[in-house]
Symmetry: C2
Subunit: 488 residues, 2 copies
């Protein structure tokens, strides 16, 4: 369908868009933050004004349903405005001023002033499972634009018409708000994606998708003559650890909450909980039946995802010691597998095998220490969840998970990812290729900035943000080691 409705971008067109994006970045990088904010607000307004059309298109191409898609679109325009506000606050600039100091401990210090500047053209790859929030004008694009970069977006082939229409709205909004032409553009097709990450004008890449696809892009970027940052959010099995007291107190609530989270979006969330680790001995079939495990799910996003899911599920079912507790091993209802902690510790790759779709694995443990051992055997994760009560001793487990995941949840479920100042969406590889960064929340802007220091510049030659006497009101700067707010 994609080929029929939206033709692939040629190499010549890609070069043209990258060059236009570079020129737009040059024209836009020094505009005042408030002006940049107005551009992002215009995009958010454009999405809101066209929400019915966008949701309808998205539902046709993703089968995710109007309610979910309306919520996701609301999140997407909220995200644009929050990141725009953050940029306007000056926070991402991380302004530091060290005045000259003849008595500095290592010898006289010159005047050094540092601020963050945007990287340039950013390539962004859309994800299929969030056609708004992690796609055309999702988190990566919003963060790159808020940072002062320009964006060339590689459309996901799962929603080509939505991608084109969203891009039209974005470009029209930017144009109406006075942003330079070319600041945002769209390219389509696998070849254009490969060309994009290798293009000399592209200075950073944001990606959300599979470990296999992400690693292929990572490798291409590592082979560039001049490597660039690759912010890839890849795979995660998002384990849930259930402590003994919590399990004794509320097994039905835990099973029901877990299955609801795992089945959300037909199991196609990057934070889908794929592993539930519980004390052995409960009547799992009865608990599953009580949690309405057999309810019908929607259609998966694409045939390719469905094929990949069925293969992963089949591989898991063929592993030693894996039983099927519920579900027909298809895509129309959730399949629940089970095994023991002993089996998993003997074959720890079970922990990393993501089944992206409606299936999940329950691991039963029967000895103290099994939770910590399983946690130690994990690869990097976006999230790790604890279900535990006051009397559960899980401090050692939390200490291990702190090394394994980007976000730890207490008695919650990982599938909701709020956009806020403190959010961390990322974790050690393969959860992310850059675990010191986040792809959700205001801190995502930092990924598209790098610092520049000015040494002994005359006041009038400095960027306005770094002058002694001319900072915008309320701007935070670190002056001679001490953070201060200026000009209030």
């Amino acid at each position: 369908m994609s080929q029929a409705t939206v033709p692939d971008t040629t190499v010549g067109e890609l070069n043209h868009r990258a060059e236009a994006a570079h020129q737009a970045y040059l024209a836009a990088r020094d505009v005042p933050p408030n002006e940049r904010k107005s551009w992002l607000y215009a995009i958010a307004d454009g999405l809101d004004a066209n929400s019915l059309e966008l949701i309808d298109l998205a539902d046709q191409e993703s089968h995710l349903g109007g309610t979910r898609l309306a919520g996701e679109l609301k999140r997407t325009s909220f995200q644009l405005r929050l990141l725009a506000d953050e940029a306007a606050s000056g926070e991402p600039l991380q302004l530091v001023i060290d005045h000259a100091d003849p008595d500095w401990g290592m010898g006289p210090r010159p005047d050094i002033r540092r601020m963050n500047v945007p990287f340039g053209v950013v390539g962004v790859f859309g994800a299929s499972n969030f056609p708004f929030a992690f796609s055309v004008i999702g988190g990566d694009s919003a963060a790159a634009l808020a940072a002062g970069c320009s964006v060339v977006h590689k459309a996901h082939e799962a929603h080509p018409r939505l991608a084109v229409r969203t891009a039209e709205i974005v470009i029209s909004a930017l144009d109406g708000a006075g942003a330079p032409a070319g600041l945002f553009s769209l390219v389509t097709g696998v070849d254009a994606g490969a060309e994009l990450v290798q293009h000399p004008l592209v200075q950073a890449v944001g990606f959300t998708g599979s470990t296999r696809g992400g690693r292929a892009l990572f490798n291409m970027i590592a082979d560039r003559p001049e490597p660039i940052p690759f912010y890839g959010e890849l795979g995660s099995t998002n384990p849930v650890f259930v402590a003994p007291v919590a399990w004794r107190q509320r097994p039905a609530e835990i099973i029901s909450g877990y299955l609801g989270s795992a089945a959300m979006g037909v199991g196609q969330f990057c934070t889908k909980p794929g592993l539930l680790i519980v004390p052995a001995g409960a009547d799992l079939p009865a608990l599953l039946a009580g949690a309405d495990v057999g309810r019908r799910l929607g259609q998966m996003l694409t045939q390719r995802l469905e094929d990949g899911f069925l293969t992963a599920l089949q591989e898991m079912r063929e592993r030693h010691g894996i039983s099927t507790l519920a579900g027909g091993a298809g895509t129309d209802e959730l399949t629940v597998l089970s095994t023991t902690a002993e089996n998993v510790l003997a074959e720890p790759e079970i922990l990393q095998q993501e089944m992206f779709g409606p299936a999940t694995l329950i691991i039963e443990y029967s000895r103290d220490g099994a939770l910590v051992d399983l946690a130690e055997a994990l690869d990097g994760q976006l999230t790790a969840t604890l279900q535990a009560d006051d009397d559960d001793d899980v401090d050692g487990l939390v200490r291990v998970l702190n090394r394994k995941a980007g976000r730890l949840l207490w008695n919650g479920w990982p599938t909701g990812v709020t956009v806020s100042y403190g959010q961390q969406h990322g974790g050690p590889y393969p959860a992310s290729t850059a675990s010191a960064t986040t792809s959700v929340g205001t801190a995502a802007i930092q990924r598209f900035l790098r610092p520049v220091a000015y040494q002994d510049f005359p006041q009038q030659r400095l960027p306005a943000f770094l002058r002694d006497d001319n900072p915008p009101p309320g701007l935070r700067r670190r002056v001679d080691g001490v953070w201060t707010e200026t000009g209030l």
Copy 2:
């Protein structure tokens, strides 16, 4: 000599040290920042107490001279204490608290609290040209330890005995201060270096050295099953742009300052200015003679560096349009080459050809716009310097250099790199493999930390730094979007 005096580390020994470093990191990562500070201070005190012996050893192996080495050692212990103070201040933790908010714009927000945690074991490669400040316990090691990581240091073969003795002092100081055994260790030999960057327990690598060597390590790390951050500071030619009015006003001062900076440390600074770009028409031979260009220099650091330098110099001299203005094309005095901007713009790889040693290239330009054109043709740089007066119009040039370099200097010389809050030592590739980070200054600590978010954790289960009521006095936290100092 290296092989004779210090045997290479075997793979078995390397594994042992990496495992010990991992255990030490586990034991140390949650100690209070003030305790970690005392460890770094103990190291600094150990260096100071053994300074005469260390300087003597360093001079034997590096030929850099006692005065320079005493200054470098002072810088090194200062750096340890400054980074220790920074860690103790809590600044690197970047604490953020978002309280739950039922009215959050995209839908109810859970309680999310984020802090930075240390990566784990860090591999650090010493540089030959700064046997203290960028070697065993130089900036990378200090930053990693300040972050709460452990360090396995790969000794540079140019100063094996100094490396071993420095490591002894570091380990003894850490032991005396109560740090866990294995927090710092040393390995030697090329094979150990290759094993180190591929070791599964190693979570990040810091490197200062050549583009060729650094790129080889970069490629090994990109091939790991689980890639890790590689903070490599590689090559830079550190151009100096001289504007017309400044050149007319003070050509002798500029030439003299430039040559002094270029010859410093026998031209073996990573910030050595390798290119001087001046208006055409001056009597360069007379200016050079007036600047005492022919004075004798010291010995280079190693035979290998000398061989590499002579090859690079020879290649440059054989390029079209390059003349020799001064010097015998050896290592005993500075060789000064010259060419025209037109020649360089026709063959821009001249701009990237680093001659690491006592040689430098003067480029004469004869038309407006040549400075900007040359700047546009540059690869990434650690520094770019302007020599300009009030009446020089260089705003366009500064705008271009802002995209090309990590630090811009006004009427200074790049070879001094102060250690401070605002310092930025790094730039677009090949200056650095991670241009959003710095290897000098307090911000260097951030390279060895990654964020972890805690969602809906009960107060008593949170790290103390993230609790509502128990922060150390004066700690900065961002609470619901607003930075505050707590508990003052």
